[in-house]
């Protein structure tokens, strides 16, 4: 048997392959180095004046959903409504009346970050998102 086989239409096949590879990898090199930057959550004047959140910033970033879950269970099921922080500050455990009181710029604070990470908490179907404004 002859070992040298003929590569029919080599040019076309290789061009086709190159086009295929380019198309498939298009999203990768097109977005190269242009990853959407993580939004910097904006603090309100009130939050800036208060300086600290319920817990240190890093913990808030990673654990605020668990904190909120604990808050609602404590309030609704155990009738405990006050949260005392490690350094003795007291907060009413309320999503609208505490978190969104300090972070009253919900759209620039909570929403921007949530849009970036693609979470959409359904809390606002019931909880008021602008407790400071007069009714809509």
């Amino acid at each position: 048997m002859n070992n040298t086989r003929t590569f029919y239409d080599g040019g076309k096949v290789i061009t086709g392959l190159v086009i295929f590879v380019v198309l498939v990898t298009f999203p990768f090199w097109y977005n190269h180095g242009k990853a959407a930057p993580a939004p910097e959550p904006q603090l309100t004047e009130k939050a800036k004046a208060e300086k600290a959140c319920i817990r240190p910033k890093n913990e808030m970033k990673s654990a605020h959903m668990q904190i909120l879950n604990n808050w609602r269970n404590n309030v609704v099921r155990n009738a405990d409504r006050i949260h005392e922080t490690a350094d003795g500050k007291r907060f009413e455990m309320s999503l609208s009346n505490t978190c969104v009181d300090c972070h009253s710029n919900k759209a620039d604070f909570c929403d921007r970050c949530h849009n970036y990470v693609a979470v959409n908490p359904y809390c606002w179907n019931c909880h008021i998102d602008n407790p400071k404004e007069t009714s809509k």
Binding site: R55, N70, R72, N74, V76, R77, N78, A79, D80, R81, I82, H83, E84, T85, A86, M93, S96, N97, Y122, N125, C126, H127, I128, N130, P131, K132, E133, S135, K136
Partner: protein
């Protein structure tokens, strides 16, 4: 590898012993974990009102017409963002008025006194001592609190409406549609509800928590009295010992905590 029955039984015995020891070991280990108590804590407001079984006495002698009930209903529905939907099958109510024959269908009286026959009665969730709705709820969204209040945890409600079928008093309403457009004036301090959850009176749990009486009691000019049924010195017990009272559908054994002086 061949094992003798003897060695198999030995290994099995030691394993069973090990399993039996695990809970004991856990018990010994547990206190160490609890030792480092977190500095953070949750607590109740000092002013919070407490009871073993909250109850209400409604003195119907102080009412003459629907106009007397209006401000009471209004006070409740306003602070709790209860929507006013006209459609009779979509309406939401926490406290409302009912004729005697509908509120007390088991109170067999062939000839009702004139006053009773035309008097509107104030009805609301009875916060039963043995609530059938709590047993019906598959997610424990509705539960009986330590102070006797039958409460809704809206976060757990899946809208199955078993509780509505279980409640003999029709105290529960289902949100067939988004309630927000039907709320005239939103109380920004209290959440609304959403399409797909059941709701009802909460005996103003959020007000008791900060030392206030329920809104309906406050708006009633003394016709409604609220207090601890288990405390012989409470206002409600005093009223109950001085007056003849009835409860709704008492024979069902749910133990309603709302009493009516007729």
């Amino acid at each position: 590898m061949k094992k003798s029955r003897r060695s198999f039984l030995q290994i099995a015995g030691v394993s069973a012993l090990g399993l039996g020891l695990k809970p004991v070991a856990d018990l010994v280990a547990a206190p160490a974990e609890h030792g480092e108590a977190p500095a953070e804590r949750v607590l109740k407001n000092e002013a919070a009102l407490k009871a073993k079984q909250w109850a209400m006495v409604i003195d119907t002698r102080m009412f003459e017409s629907a106009a007397d009930l209006e401000p009471i209903i209004e006070a409740c529905h306003k602070i709790h963002n209860v929507p006013s939907i006209d459609h009779p099958r979509h309406e939401i109510k926490w406290i409302w008025e009912e004729e005697f024959k509908h509120a007390f269908p088991t109170q067999e009286l062939r000839f009702l006194p004139e006053r009773i026959e035309h008097l509107p009665f104030l009805v609301l969730c009875n916060h039963c001592e043995d609530p059938p709705c709590v047993r019906a709820c598959p997610t424990k969204a509705t539960f009986k609190r330590e102070d006797g209040i039958v409460l809704m945890d809206f976060h757990r409600c899946i809208g199955c409406r078993f509780c509505m079928a279980a409640c003999p008093y029709g105290s529960r309403s289902f949100n067939f549609r988004d309630p927000r457009p039907f709320i005239k004036e939103t109380n920004l301090k209290f959440p609304t509800r959403m399409k797909g959850v059941v709701e009802k009176c909460n005996f103003c749990a959020e007000r008791l928590a900060v030392g206030q009486m329920p809104a309906c009691v406050e708006a009633s000019n003394g016709a409604l009295t609220f207090g601890d049924l288990e405390d012989p010195e409470s206002d409600v017990r005093k009223l109950l010992s001085e007056n003849f009272t009835i409860r709704r559908k008492q024979a069902l054994g749910t133990g309603p905590a709302v009493y009516y002086i007729i």
